[in-house]
Amino acid sequence: MDGLTAAEQREFQSRMERKQMKEFMGMFSNLVSHCFDSCIDDFTTKSLIARETGCVSRCVKKFMAGSERIGQRFQEQQAQMMQNPPPGR
């Protein structure tokens, strides 16, 4: 992003930060939805029961490990794509 004034640079950076925050929040809410949907099926109580709490912990752990591994593959692919750019440009 060259050719921007200092004020524009700052504006750009602040937008990117907001976007990352939004991205993180989206992931957070997806993770909550996914683990809730996968782990919670007992509505005879108002509080989480032990089985549900354990399932949520494993779900978050596994989701993050999977997400990290997918992120690695994705970055490798992105790097590869730099040499062989996608169509539509």
């Binding site: 200092a6 004020a7 700052r10 504006e11 602040s14 907001r18 990352q20 925050m21 939004k22 991205e23 993180f24 929040m25 989206g26 992931m27 957070f28 809410s29 993770l31 909550v32 939805s33 683990c35 809730f36 949907d37 782990c39 919670i40 099926d41 509505f43 005879t44 109580t45 108002k46 509080s47 989480l48 549900e52 709490t53 949520v56 912990s57 978050v60 752990k61 993050m64 997400s67 990290e68 997918i70 992120g71 994705f74 970055q75």
Partner: protein
Amino acid sequence: MSMFGLGRPQPSSAEKIAAAEQEMDLVTDMFNKLQQACLKKCIPREYREGEINKGEGVCIDRCAAKFFDVQLKVSELLQAEAQAKGASGGGFGIGGM
């Protein structure tokens, strides 16, 4: 934007507005997710009646309470993970890009 770019002394109006909007978006997103999750768990899709019956109402209340608990639990787990990895929130998938 600001007349003198003195190292971001305080948020500009535009930044305050953006922060308030983001807050609102997050709350809205969470409400939508909660709604989707609990309608799916508690309301059968046959629609033989237009009212929420007693069992469905109780299910919604408990479902909302549990959803909220899961939300807290997940954020605790993410914070613990972030601290274990050495702060800065990195390491969450593509987050660090």
